[in-house]
Point group: C2
Chain length 213, copies 2
């Protein structure tokens, strides 16, 4: 499992400091939607410099104008960009084509997607499908159950991520479900000591992986 740390709703200077500190602890560093909307997509250029060896994900939440937004995002340094599963199939296809053309990754945010809609959009083989509970709805109660149910419903999907209020207790339960990516935001960034918190997540994730072997 990879650890993606999401940085959101902070000033740019604080985001840069957090990225620099957390880069050694993260597989993927996420520039949250608030950073994109507050500062514009060029914020990715600034943050890329702090990301070290971690991949940089821009949570741009595209829902229309797929080619334009994805070209902008990759041009400004993102390795992975997000598009809403709620978009039209045409928008998803355009985002996928740009991603494939750039040799980069597309993450499909399944926020509020019905099973019917999801079944129409699971045919992008390299895409990462992100199970996502809205910040405005609070944490997902059972991330492990969510991932297992998704994998059962859509066995053809290879790449799965999970986001939404993940904490140390719920991450420990993810061994059987084994998503490719676990996304943690305030559970790390709002901790008294974010580096320490990230290390705790990594440790629990490593133990979780070992126990499932």
């Amino acid at each position: 499992m990879k650890l993606q740390i999401a940085i959101d709703r902070v000033l740019l200077d604080e985001a840069k400091v957090l990225m620099q500190k957390l880069a050694p602890e993260a597989d993927i560093l996420e520039a949250g939607t608030s950073l994109i909307k507050d500062y514009g997509v060029t914020v990715l250029d600034d943050l890329k410099e702090e990301a070290g060896g971690a991949q940089l994900l821009g949570d741009i939440k595209t829902i229309d104008e797929g080619a334009y937004e994805f070209k902008q995002g990759f041009r400004h340094g993102a390795d992975i960009l997000t598009v809403m599963g709620a978009s039209s199939i045409e928008t998803l296809q355009k985002c996928y084509d740009v991603s494939e053309g750039c040799g980069k990754d597309m993450m499909i945010d399944l926020l509020e997607c019905t099973p019917e809609k999801t079944s129409e959009i699971v045919h992008f083989p390299h895409a990462i499908y992100c199970l996502h509970t809205s910040v405005d709805q609070g944490a997902t109660a059972n991330p492990s159950g969510d991932v297992l149910a998704f994998k059962k419903a859509f066995p053809g999907v290879r790449r799965v991520a999970i986001a939404g209020g993940i904490n140390l207790q719920t991450v420990a339960g993810l061994s059987a479900a084994a998503p490719e990516i676990v996304i943690v935001g305030s559970g790390i960034t709002k901790a008294n000591n974010p580096i320490d918190a990230a290390r705790k997540f990594r440790r629990v994730m490593a133990e979780t992986c070992k126990s499932s072997m």
Copy 2:
């Protein structure tokens, strides 16, 4: 009917010039999603100065973190902000509460919303409901039919807007449907003479209104 002119996918300097020129011809000037994502929400402050007597709409397409994004948008000078109908009910409620608290307007973008989802979110009395065909899908074939069908399906909704490839021919057919707002983008901004094009739209809309009286 009000004319909303959407400015999208241009550099900020060009957007400012366009807004200044088009302000006398528009009821509402829209800072398109590309401007928000390219430059950040503070672009609204810059554009507000050019909007003259027209209202400024920020097409921020919120889909999560409703209160945060709406507070940011109104703080930076927007009169109207957009939220996706595809959001969770909780997100829509938070956006609505902020809008009402600020005495500003919320526009719900119904892009890709099913009738079932739409029926769950038509209870915000002051919200503007925007029927929207994706840029990536091309123009709506029958905007007048779309508005009439929506009003018939959801008779309780008072405020309706329509967007997606509206041109002089289709706008002329909107008299019976009579949406509150008609949104035109490239039909005006990409014309050889945008001011002239905007005036043509206004003239056709005025004749359309007269003919329906």
